[in-house]
Amino acid sequence: MRIGVFICHCGSNIAGTVDCPSVAATALTYPDVVFSTDTMYACSEPGQDAIIQAIKDKNLDGVVVASCTPRMHEPTFRRTVERAGLNRYMFEMANIREHVSWIGKTKDLNTGKAAELVRMAVEKLRRDKPLIPKRFETVKRVLVIGGGVAGIQAALDCADGGQEVIMVEREQTIGGKMAKLDKTFPTVDCSSCVLGPKMVDVAQHPNITLYACSEIEAVGGYVGNFQITIRKKATYVNWKDCTGCGLCVEKCPSRKLPDPFNEGLCNAPSINIPFPQAIPKKAAITAASCIMLQKGKCGLCAKVCPVKCIDFEQKDELINVDVGAIVVATGYDLFDWHKYPQYGEGRYPDVITSMQYERMLSASGPTGGHVKRPSDGKEPRNVVFIQCVGSRDKSVDRPYCSGFCCMYTAKQAILTKDHIPDSQSYIFYMDIRSPGKGYDEFTRRATEEYGAQYVRGRVAMIYPKGDKLIVRGADTLAGTQVEVPADLVVLAVGAESAKGAVALGEKLRVCPDQYGFFVESHPKLKPVETNTAGVFLAGACQGPKDIPASVGQGSAAAAKVLGLLSKAMLESDPAVSRVNPARCVGCGKCIQTCPFGAIKEIQDRFGNPKAEVIDTVCQGCGICTVTCPQGAIQLEHFTDNQILAEVNALCPPKMFANYE
């Protein structure tokens, strides 16, 4: 075999702490290595051309590149060798940047380590063989999980791109958090006026099927061929007939439960339509508070319903669909501020969250857009905003910055002045985080034009005095303590991962970070991809984001989906398990262990049971290879011998008996 080795300097990234030329020299002494050199940037165009050239001149049949992590550039170099006429699997990478030059201090140790990693790669390459990928068709349908603004954007873009879209929303209506907002920064334009039309588009688009009050029950399959089970939760209303006239909502006698859409500022009837612009505009019954479902009498809604669409017998319904790609847009949840007992733990009614304040500001909200103290309905004069409630705070396990609180607080301060001209806002902040077009100017306006008083410091405690709330904080710039007698306190609560995100992640095989936000494939170069092919991320489920960023990511995810589904056929990774029928005894252990049901039992022509791998289903984990008592099933490109070759390269067998 004729192997060529290329040691990349990566500028000074590797060459800085690794003696690349000497590694190249050492490599030349390894078996089958006929050519070895060091290069400045292997991944650059000249770098790749040099590799191609060498393959041609030295007629190499295998290439090792020692550079960065294969998770970065393995695909790049595989294409390179392919362009030179080699099979893309006749290529190995040695990671001498992330695993050597960037973590080791001493140059000679690094150089030695690099040389050994190259040796491992060479030994493995010597046992590699060409692999040909299988081709398979994809289902031309997209699943969008979550109907917030990010999901809506992704769905509309995919639908406009000609793909069939299934949108699944857990709540009764789409619109997500944005639908609850009154105005949006930095333009202070009406949130529902911007979002409303898009929501209607979703409802009316011929390519989009919407399932509200629904959740993902199960996910099977693989890129291009996912099998999805959707649980459509019982709404006790036959949505096919419901016209959303709202008669039932008016008549419903039970108004026990706090209204989730209005953040508990008021109670909602048991049968309800969240808000006028809801999509779908259908009524649904909350079983927990429905007198009929709890006590078996009432049924007023059923009596008044003109189309008789109330159905107290309704049950959850399971729907199965096949899709080719999935966009996850499950958004975020607001931090539970009760973890700050010093802010009253709910003992003081006039301490509210920023989202509750949004509902209060909104004309469609419970107060009809009038700012009133929950305690006595009076109009507040001094409004205190406290930022970083559940952000940048280790003590509540939320060390990260939620990103958008600074901006929405500035917006709310401005709106407060608009609603109550003689009011005064105080904003306790740690730092103002306002990168973004027109953002910082916006926060300045809050101070300069609307007279918001920014105070740099956290708030230690809130306590009532008369009908006021005394907010005691610090002004670290003045270097002392400050007290503000407030009429209303608004907590700028931070963002945390959506409830159930982790559980959903398990179903999708998308791994969440320690705070429950989904991890993207690459922090810079693959922001919407995940490590599971065919599953993409959009919006705040990947990390706190404001509206523009979420919309942007929605479109980005859509672009990825359209790109994927535009291919007539997809190629399956040929690095899958293979059964050697001669060795297989048909014990079926592999069939039991395979997590994907990718192995089926067949009979050879003598009627003996044998295992057989379904290429397109196999994900190439290799669990079966370890399970097989006969060593009959081997994971291509990661066979026992290939891995053992790497082991032996590191720890040469000391004993006489050599297994190779």
Binding site: P341, Q342, E345, R347, M461, Y463, P464, K465, G466
Partner: protein
Amino acid sequence: MLKIAYYPGCSGQGTSLEYDSSTRAVCRALDIELMDIPDWSCCGSTPAHTVNHVLSSALSARNLAQVEGMGMDKVMTPCPSCLTNLRTAAHKMEDQEFRAKSNALLDVPCKNTVNAQSVLQVLAENVDPELIKSKVVKPLTGIRIACYYGCIMNRPPELMRFDHHENPMAMDNLMTAIGAEVVPFPLKVECCGASYGIPRGDIVARLSGKLLDAGRDVGADAFVTACPLCQMNLDLRQGQINHALRENFRIPVFYYTQLLGYALGLDRAELGFEKLCVDPRLALGKIKQPAQAR
């Protein structure tokens, strides 16, 4: 019958005699036997830990060691300041190196096997409120009480491991159990000025004044405290505070044990109401006789 080692604390011998005696009376009434530490000494209080942590620890450890000598693993004290020192010592001594340093100062080394708790915690966690209710003979009906816990009874939570660090309820529950009306006092854990009464009276005047003011705001007839220092600052120094702030507070400040004892109908002599500076009758007078109450 619950047996617990008891550490009275120095002030129990002097400025808070009534706290000590009423505590003993109440415990007797509730079937808790106090085993006094035979030769207990001062825990060093605040001064010790502001000078050096090993010294402070040693002074507390001498007493913990005695409890170990009594073959007991739990000691209770009425005084939060003592409690903090005992618990801090125990906590720091979990570090072997520190424990060695601390023991090096002692004749009898401390094995650090004792858990120190406040009397309040024992009453709150080991006595059934229903039992207390059942024993009440003179319910405190008609009297409005502000429960003031002081700054270190529950803080820091990692160390004190008792009740809530921003809104403790132990005393509130006891007072409710004996029929008193508990007002929502907002500054339950705010500091009263602690031991600065003597060197910096102005500080105490301001801080304790703030507490009295807040109490008045929520219409309290009386304060109850669980801390000799707090009680002294609020009660004994109330005159000084009035003078300093040009105020005219006249709010009696009880130890919660005194009111418990009163409700349980214990011997007045042991409850030591006469030792209070602000006339207790201002509050006790408001108590409706059971007849009127109904």
